[in-house]
Symmetry: C2
């Protein structure tokens, strides 16, 4: 009934999970559907940017030699033979003594080699023709944007595993990716366990609570870039549970269970893993909350047995499941980024274990700050709504003071290639 | 042809746009569809959390009076009459000298008033019954989670305008919001203008470039939480443009145009605004890039005339359009959050105007850093893919040095209620 559980460190647990990553296949989707997906291949420039010599501003394309002797005292007059907008080409040769009015982005007329912006010219009409006066000399190339000066054809622009947001879409569109190679989303199944659970639409009854974890985890899975399938609740019957898990395995890349992994009487998961022949990577971690998080693996499919406690469930997903999903999505930055911050409040409660506290990052005149959110009750679900970091506190015999420097894991950033390291010691900093 | 344009400051431009905000209506959607939407109403607790007195850990529910004289020398023995899991109720009265084995989350048996965790007890069998030994005294309430101690019924949990992510979903599920009141998304139309533009699937031809702005802006609109409708390109004909804009107005809450707002020959937009009787809020801003950004308004519908230059277009959206959209979505934090950071590199090019440079925020042992991304060519689209901030540099006659403190607008954060203030002076900081 009480199976032996040997706790390992968080970083060791992460490392064990990451031994079983795999990378998803590629599919091509319309650029208009690409937002929020991950690039399946690196993207290269298929042409130079600018793609041709062009004018970067509104002005006149001129032959620089015409202005070689121009000055305030000796202005030159050039005949404006045509006006050309971006997307159009000059229709006639530009001869010595002539100029072309050009708009931003216009291809350079072949006979011209410099741009005189409007501010440096004076336009006038004479004999039914338009002229400009120029009072300075221009050199070949002045104010011209040259082909390839921003980006050379063949240049690597974006890596595989890049998360696709607006700036990435701009690059894809510029280089003609109307179909975008993205990674197929992994399918992550979710089962809730716990006879105390009601579905969200059910009325509360004594002894029961609503099943918030399944909805939360489903959203976390989607936020990580995967497809989530909620299979409902497992009921309190071994054979039922076993067959439910076995059947789900055929349909998913990974299966998350929430609840039922506490040291309780009604936890069938260890027995299910055993009967399936799954390889249990660990079943206890030296962390709070979530010490009884269990991860197992069978033939490349993962089982993430997360706690039924909402905070522990949330933390377990972020630490162990998310890096696995992001690696599947080819991301080279699967881990939560860890940054230092200065505590804005005392956090007096000591704990012998590494802890993950819900918190908010702040910025105070260039200094990163860290504020715990709500109480440190692992059941407090409401503070999850207000957190954007997990504060990682090393275990120890004392609490923490305002001004102490702590580690924070950023929940809403792109991520990092650096795996999580357990915080081991506290560096005291002056109060700022 | 060259209309008069009087530049205003960025903060003044933002303020003028925000005089014409409106708030969207509410619709109810399934909790499983709520991710990424904005709450249309505040959310209150419909019940206490915990909803009943319960056990926060695995252990034994006891009558504390039974242990009042217990010590190492005088242990007490209690008979374990039943085992109860979360979601179930004890089936019989618990009499003096008796205890109940309970799992985490179990409702407290009515006759018990304290929890003795497993670690503080020793279990043994005698006479066919199960007993525990306890060597310390417990007080009434010890280790019990009391009803309402985390959250009281009626407490305000989430504000209207809250962006819905996994932690918010957890709260909504806990409190039974299977239908969630969210703000209806505004519809934002998009027209691209510019005869130099090819669609993304077209082959490049001399003098033309691909239309990246429309796809980028569409994605920015979606990221801001609105629906985007791309109407295609406006062609170079006044009547066509006028009718296209007029028709689109009936279908949208705001209309974005990109391109065609430079001081060029082929820009019909000022004339279109005039013929529509729209109120032009401004048509020139003292900023780079994007100085010719134009915003107009007619009967509550907005026209955002953004530059054709990709960076200027991107910046114009983030500064002017996004706060309008987020206010529509009831967000109390519509503006980009501005934080200080220390430049990691020299940025030598001076410019008389307020500039917005694509950059990355970094964290170096608790200090916020700021790194420009790519060159400061306003056409450089590729650097948009790698930026997570806009560095806001005040205009001036000199460039900036490594170690200078600069303002950064965070592109991927929740936002702030503080409107943008033009950076006016540079605070020199020591190099760190």
């Amino acid at each position: 009934m009480f199976e032996e559980r040997v706790p390992i460190s968080v970083s060791e647990a992460v490392q064990r999970v990451m031994q079983y990553t795999k990378k998803g296949k590629i599919e091509y989707i319309d650029i208009e559907e690409a937002r929020g997906r991950y690039l399946g291949e690196a993207v290269y420039a298929d042409h130079n940017i600018p793609p041709f010599d062009r004018t970067p501003l509104d002005g006149f394309a001129i032959r620089s030699e015409d202005t070689s002797n121009a000055s305030s005292n000796r202005p030159v007059h050039l005949e404006v033979i045509e006006t050309v907008g971006a997307g159009n080409m000059v229709k006639q040769p530009v001869k010595p003594g002539q100029a072309v009015r050009v708009m931003t982005g216009t291809i350079m007329p072949e006979d011209c080699d410099a741009i005189a912006m409007f501010e440096l010219t004076k336009e006038f009409d004479k004999d039914g023709k338009t002229w400009i006066e120029i009072k300075r000399s221009f050199k070949k190339g002045d104010f011209v944007s040259f082909e390839g000066e921003e980006t050379k054809k063949g240049e690597r622009l974006l890596d595989a595993g890049t998360f696709i947001h607006a700036g990435v879409v701009a690059v894809l569109a510029t280089f003609g990716y109307n179909k975008v190679p993205v990674v197929k989303k992994p399918v992550i199944g979710i089962y809730a366990t716990g006879t105390e659970l009601l579905e969200v639409e059910e009325e509360l009854v004594p002894g029961k609570i609503r099943n918030s974890n399944a909805y939360m985890i489903k959203t976390q899975v989607q936020q990580a870039g995967a497809n989530a399938v909620y299979y409902g609740q497992l009921v309190d019957d071994f054979d039922h549970c076993y067959h439910a898990v076995e059947n789900a395995l055929d349909q998913v890349d990974a299966l998350i269970t929430t609840g039922g992994v506490s040291v309780g009487d009604f936890d069938y998961l260890p027995e299910i893993y055993q009967k399936l022949g799954a390889n249990v990577l660990f079943n206890k971690i030296a962390m709070r909350p979530g010490s009884v998080t269990t991860v197992a693996e069978k033939e490349g499919k993962m089982f993430f047995g997360l706690s039924g406690n909402p905070s522990a469930c949330f933390v377990g997903f972020e630490l162990y499941t998310k890096p696995w999903i992001k690696t599947y999505l080819h991301s080279p930055k699967p881990y939560l980024e860890c940054v230092k911050g200065t505590l804005t409040h005392d956090f007096p409660k000591p704990n012998p274990f590494t802890r993950f506290i819900r918190g908010k990052i702040g910025f105070n005149r260039g200094i990163v700050t860290s504020s715990p959110v709500g109480m440190d009750k692992s059941q407090v679900v409401t503070s999850l709504a207000h957190s954007d970091v997990l504060i990682a506190l090393p275990g120890g015999s004392r609490g923490y003071k305002k001004g102490d420097e702590v580690d924070m894991l950023l929940l809403f950033r792109e991520g990092t290639s650096e795996p999580f390291k357990d915080p081991t010691k506290l560096r005291k900093t002056e109060n700022r």
